[in-house]
C-alpha cells in the first residue's frame, strides 16, 4: 500500500463516518502514518458528534422559546445549522423579550397608577360603593358606605349585602338580583326603611372573559335632599297652581322667545284659548289686544320686557279680543322673569284683569252723578214753580165754577186751565227726573202696563207695535205711572225716528244677572223690557249723552224724555241701556228688579182702593198750614167751595197752637193739610210729631212741591194719612180729603 492509496482511503472514511478505520499491517512502513490518520479520523468523528449535539441543543432551546412566544418549532429544513447560527434566533427572541418585558413594566406601572386612582375615586366619591361577588358576599366597600349605613368594620367580614344594608328586611326590588336578571347595569331610586332616607342605587356588573358576572359594584347616592326639594317644588307648584286658579286675574307665562308656557283658567276664559291649544304659540297671537299706540303694541311690550335691560310694563286700559271675537276691556301688566337681578330674562309673566264691568260701573256712576246734580237744580225750580201753579190752578178752578154761566169766560178759563195743566205736567216731569222723586210703588204685572203704554203712544202714528212678552214674566214693584211714562217716551222716540213708519218690537223677559255679567247691576232676578226700532239710529258720539237732560238731536224735543226715563229707572234700582247703529236702528233695554215672593203676598192682602177723578164735596173742619200766602188763600177758597170750614196757619208753630186750642175746646179739626217744608220754620215733618202727641188720632195730609222727598212716598211711616202733591186742583184735593176722612172714620 502506498501513501496515495492510504490518503484516498482516509478521505473516504472521513466522509463516511459509519465505515471502519484504516487497516494496515503493523510492520508496514506506513503503519505509523496510518495510526496517526486513524487517530485524526476518530477525533474528527468525535468533533462532528459534539457539533451535532450543540446545534441540536440550540435548536431545542430555540423551539422552546418559540413555543413561549406562541408559535410552532423551527423545522430543520427551514434553516441549516450555519444559517441558524448566522440568524441568531435566540438573540432575536431575547431582544424581543426585552421589549415585551419593558412593555409589561410600563403596563404594570400604569396599572398601579390606575389602581391608585380607582382607590382614590372609591374613597372620595360622594356616594357609597359596595363591591360584591356573585353570591352577594361583600368584597369591599368605601368609607362613605360605612358612614351611610353605620357599618361596623370589624364585623363585616364574610357578610352579605343583605346583612349590612337590608338587615333582614327583604326589599320590594333587590337591585343586585335585578342586575343579575338583566345582565347589565340596573338603576333604581328607592327609599330605605332602615334609615328613612332616599337613595339612587346603581348596580353595575363586572364580567370575566367568558362574559360571566363575577362581581357587582353598587353605588348608593343619597338623594334625600333632592327628593325633599322635589317635594317642596311639587308643593310649591301645587300652591302656585291653586293660587293661579283662585285669583280673578288672567295669568300667562312665556319663555324668553315670548311663547306661551302657562295659562290659568281665567286667562283661558278671557282669551278664549285653551292651554293645550295655546302652548308654544306666540303670546301676541293669544293676547289679541287693541293697540292704542305703538308703545302699547303686544310686540313692543315683549320687546321691552324680554330685552337685555327689561322694564316692568303696565298698560292701564286696553281692549282684548278673544278667540271668538268678544271684546273686553282689560288692565294689563307684564314683568320679566329673571333668575338674578340684572341677568337676561328667561321669560315673562303677563297679568290681566277684566275691567269691563268696573268701567261700565264707573261710567254709570259718572252719568248718575251728572244727572243727579242737574236733578237737584231742576227739583228746586219745579218746587217754586209748583207753588205758583197751585195758586194759578186753584184760582182757575174756582173762577171756572164762579163763571159757569158765562160760556165765553168759562171757555177761556178752560183753555187757561189746560195750559196750566201742561205746565203742571212739565214740572211733574222735571220733578220725576229730579233727585228722589221717590216712586210710589205697587206690585205690578207689567204685561198690561207695557201693552197699554205702548199702544197709547203709538195710536194715530205710522208705527205698529209687535209684542213679545214672556207669559211667566216676574212681577215687579214699580210706580206704574212712572214706568208707563218710560215706555211711552221710548215708543214716542221710536215713532219719531221711524219717519216712514213700520214695526217696533217691544218685548219683556225674565233675566238673572250674575257677577260675571258685564252689566252695572247688583246680581239678582230682573225683568228686561226692550223697545227696538228700525229708525235712523244714534250717532256713536251722542250715545253717551242721550240721557243728559236738555240734550236733544230733535228739532222739536226739549231733551227731557230720556233723562226722565233714566231717572225713573234708576229710582227703581234698575238700569236703562241703549244699543244703536246708524241707519239700522236702536234698542233701548230696561232692567227692573223682580219683586220677591213675600212682597207679592203682602200686596195681595192690601188691595188698593181706586180713587175717582170726580169733585167730591165734603164737610168738616180743616186746618191748612203753608208758608206761601197765595197757597193758603187758594186752598182755603177751594176747600170752602167744597163745603169744608177752613182755618189757616203760616207755619208749624201756628198750626200747633191752633190745633191744641181747638182740641182743648172740644172742637177739634177733622183734618190738617201741612206743607212739608217751611223755610226757617217748623215744617210738616216736625209738626206732625207734636200734633200726634196732642191727638194720636189726628188725620194729617202732607203736601209739597218736593215730590222727591221720601216722606211724600212713605207718608204713613211719618204719621200722615194722605199725600197731596203740589200743584193740586180741586178734584185731586177733594178726592184725597174724602179718602182720608172716610178711611179714618171707618
Amino acid at each position: 500500500m502506498n501513501l496515495d492509496k492510504i490518503l484516498q482511503s482516509a478521505r473516504h472514511i472521513k466522509e463516511n463516518p459509519s465505515s471502519s478505520l484504516l487497516q494496515i499491517r503493523p510492520d508496514d512502513e506506513f503503519a505509523p502514518v496510518t495510526d496517526f490518520l486513524n487517530e485524526l479520523l476518530e477525533e474528527n468523528r468525535s468533533l462532528r458528534h459534539n457539533d451535532e449535539t450543540s446545534v441540536g441543543y440550540i435548536r431545542q432551546k430555540i423551539d422552546q422559546l418559540l413555543q413561549v412566544i406562541g408559535t410552532i418549532p423551527l423545522r430543520a429544513e427551514e434553516l441549516d445549522n450555519a444559517t441558524l447560527i448566522h440568524l441568531d434566533p435566540i438573540g432575536i427572541i431575547a431582544e424581543s423579550f426585552r421589549q415585551i418585558l419593558d412593555h409589561q413594566r410600563q403596563t404594570n406601572d400604569q396599572l398601579e397608577l390606575a389602581k391608585d386612582e380607582i382607590q382614590a375615586i372609591f374613597e372620595s366619591i360622594g356616594g357609597g360603593i359596595l363591591v360584591l361577588d356573585s353570591n352577594k358576599k361583600i368584597i369591599s366597600y368605601n368609607q362613605t358606605l360605612e358612614q351611610m349605613f353605620d357599618i361596623d368594620k370589624n364585623q363585616s367580614d364574610g357578610l352579605s349585602c343583605s346583612d349590612i344594608i337590608c338587615q333582614g328586611q327583604r326589599p320590594e326590588i333587590c337591585p343586585f338580583e335585578e342586575m343579575l336578571k338583566r345582565g347589565k347595569t340596573f338603576s333604581l331610586s328607592s327609599g330605605c326603611l332602615r334609615n328613612l332616607r332616599y337613595y339612587n342605587v346603581l348596580t353595575t356588573p363586572i364580567k370575566d372573559r367568558n362574559d360571566q358576572i363575577v362581581r357587582a359594584v353598587i353605588l348608593y347616592i343619597d338623594i334625600t335632599e333632592l327628593m325633599e326639594a322635589k317635594e317642596a317644588v311639587a308643593n310649591e307648584k301645587e300652591r302656585l297652581s291653586l293660587t293661579l286658579k283662585s285669583i280673578a286675574e288672567g295669568v300667562v307665562a312665556t319663555d324668553a322667545q315670548g311663547s306661551i308656557t302657562l295659562m290659568n283658567e281665567v286667562a283661558e276664559e278671557l282669551t278664549g284659548w285653551s292651554l293645550d291649544d295655546a302652548l308654544g304659540k306666540s303670546a301676541c297671537q293669544i293676547l289679541n289686544i287693541q293697540e292704542s299706540s305703538e308703545t302699547d303694541s303686544c310686540t313692543n311690550i315683549f320687546n321691552d320686557i324680554l330685552s337685555s335691560d327689561p322694564t316692568f310694563k303696565r298698560v292701564s286700559q286696553t281692549e282684548l279680543i278673544s278667540r271668538s271675537g268678544k271684546k273686553r276691556l282689560i288692565f294689563l301688566s307684564a314683568a320679566p322673569i329673571r333668575r338674578e337681578e340684572r341677568s337676561s330674562p328667561t321669560g315673562s309673566i303677563l297679568v290681566f284683569r277684566d275691567i269691563t264691568h268696573e268701567k261700565n260701573m264707573e261710567m254709570e256712576c259718572i252719568r248718575s252723578q251728572r244727572i243727579e246734580s242737574l236733578g237737584i237744580v231742576a227739583g228746586g225750580i219745579a218746587h217754586d214753580f209748583n207753588n205758583l201753579l197751585t195758586a194759578i190752578l186753584g184760582n182757575i178752578s174756582l173762577a171756572r165754577r164762579m163763571a159757569k154761566d158765562n160760556d165765553a169766560i168759562s171757555n177761556l178759563l178752560a183753555e187757561t186751565e189746560k195750559a196750566s195743566s201742561r205746565a203742571k205736567n212739565l214740572t211733574h216731569q222735571l220733578l220725576t227726573f229730579a233727585k228722589g222723586g221717590a216712586p210710589v210703588t205697587t206690585l205690578t204685572s207689567t204685561r198690561k202696563l207695557i201693552e197699554e203704554s205702548a199702544r197709547f203712544s203709538s195710536s194715530g202714528s205710522n208705527i205698529k207695535c209687535h209684542f213679545d212678552i214672556a207669559d211667566d214674566l216676574w212681577q215687579v214693584e214699580i210706580d206704574e205711572g212712572q214706568i208707563g211714562q218710560v215706555i211711552q217716551n221710548l215708543v214716542i222716540n221710536a215713532d219719531q225716528t221711524m219717519k216712514q213708519g213700520g214695526a217696533v218690537d217691544i218685548g219683556a223677559e225674565n233675566i238673572i244677572i250674575d257677577q260675571n255679567d258685564d252689566i252695572s247691576l247688583t246680581p239678582g232676578n230682573y225683568i228686561k223690557i226692550y223697545v227696538k226700532d228700525k229708525g235712523e239710529g244714534i250717532a256713536s258720539q251722542y250715545l253717551d249723552k242721550i240721557f243728559d237732560p236738555y240734550f236733544t238731536t230733535k228739532e222739536t224735543g226739549h231733551g227731557l224724555g230720556l233723562s226722565i226715563c233714566y231717572s225713573i229707572i234708576k229710582k227703581h234700582s234698575g238700569l236703562i241701556t241703549v244699543a244703536s247703529e246708524q241707519g239700522v236702528g236702536s234698542t233701548f233695554s230696561l232692567y227692573l228688579p223682580a219683586a220677591d215672593q213675600q212682597l207679592l203676598e203682602q200686596a195681595q192682602q192690601n188691595a188698593a182702593t181706586e180713587t175717582t177723578a170726580k169733585i167730591l164735596s165734603g164737610q168738616g173742619k180743616l186746618l191748612i198750614m203753608d208758608d206761601e200766602q197765595i197757597i193758603r188763600e187758594v186752598a182755603s177758597q177751594m176747600l170752602t167751595y167744597l163745603g169744608y170750614s177752613v182755618e189757616l196757619a203760616a207755619d208749624g208753630e201756628e198750626a200747633l197752637q191752633k190745633y191744641r186750642q181747638a182740641f182743648d175746646q172740644g172742637a177739634p179739626f177733622d183734618a190738617v193739610i201741612m206743607d212739608l217744608t217751611i223755610p226757617e220754620g217748623m215744617g210738616g215733618k216736625e209738626a206732625i210729631e207734636h200734633l200726634l202727641r196732642i191727638d194720636p188720632e189726628i188725620k194729617a195730609i202732607v203736601s209739597s212741591g218736593y215730590a222727591n222727598d221720601p216722606i211724600m212716598a212713605n207718608f204713613k211711616d211719618y204719621g200722615f194719612q194722605g199725600v197731596m202733591p203740589k200743584p193740586f186742583n180741586m178734584e185731586e184735593a177733594s178726592n184725597t180729603l174724602k179718602k182720608v176722612l172716610t178711611e179714618s172714620d171707618s
Binding site: 418559540l66 412566544i69 406562541g70 408559535t71 410552532i72 418549532p73 423551527l74 427551514e78 434553516l79 440568524l87 434566533p89 432575536i92 427572541i93 431582544e95 424581543s96 421589549q99 415585551i100 419593558d102 412593555h103 410600563q106 403596563t107
Partner: protein, 88 residues
C-alpha cells in the same frame, strides 16, 4: 391607519416563507427599529401568504406594546405594526 406622525414604512415581502421564520424576521426588524417605531416615526408592514403568521406576528407585536393591523389583500395579508390607533 389614521396616525399622521407615521412617515416611513419598512416594507418586507415574506411571501413563500412560513412561520416561525416569518415571526423571527418580524421580531428581528422590530428589535432593530425599536426606537423609531416606538416614537411613531416608522411603521413595519409585512406582506405574507402564511396564515399562521397573521396570528403569531400580531400577538408578539402587541405583547411588545405595538398596535397592529392585519389586512387581507388579494391572495396575501398585510400586517402593519407601529405606534398608532388600529383601525376598527
Amino acid at each position: 391607519m389614521s396616525d399622521q406622525k407615521i412617515q416611513e414604512t419598512i416594507a418586507i415581502d415574506m411571501r413563500g416563507q412560513i412561520c416561525p421564520a416569518c415571526l423571527l424576521v418580524a421580531m428581528d426588524t422590530l428589535n432593530k427599529h425599536r426606537e423609531a417605531l416606538t416614537k411613531g416615526l416608522e411603521k413595519l408592514c409585512i406582506i405574507t401568504d402564511n396564515r399562521e403568521a397573521t396570528t403569531t406576528i400580531p400577538t408578539t407585536a402587541r405583547n411588545m406594546g405595538y398596535s397592529v393591523t392585519v389586512t387581507k389583500i388579494d391572495s396575501f395579508y398585510q400586517i402593519c405594526v407601529g405606534r398608532f390607533t388600529p383601525d376598527k
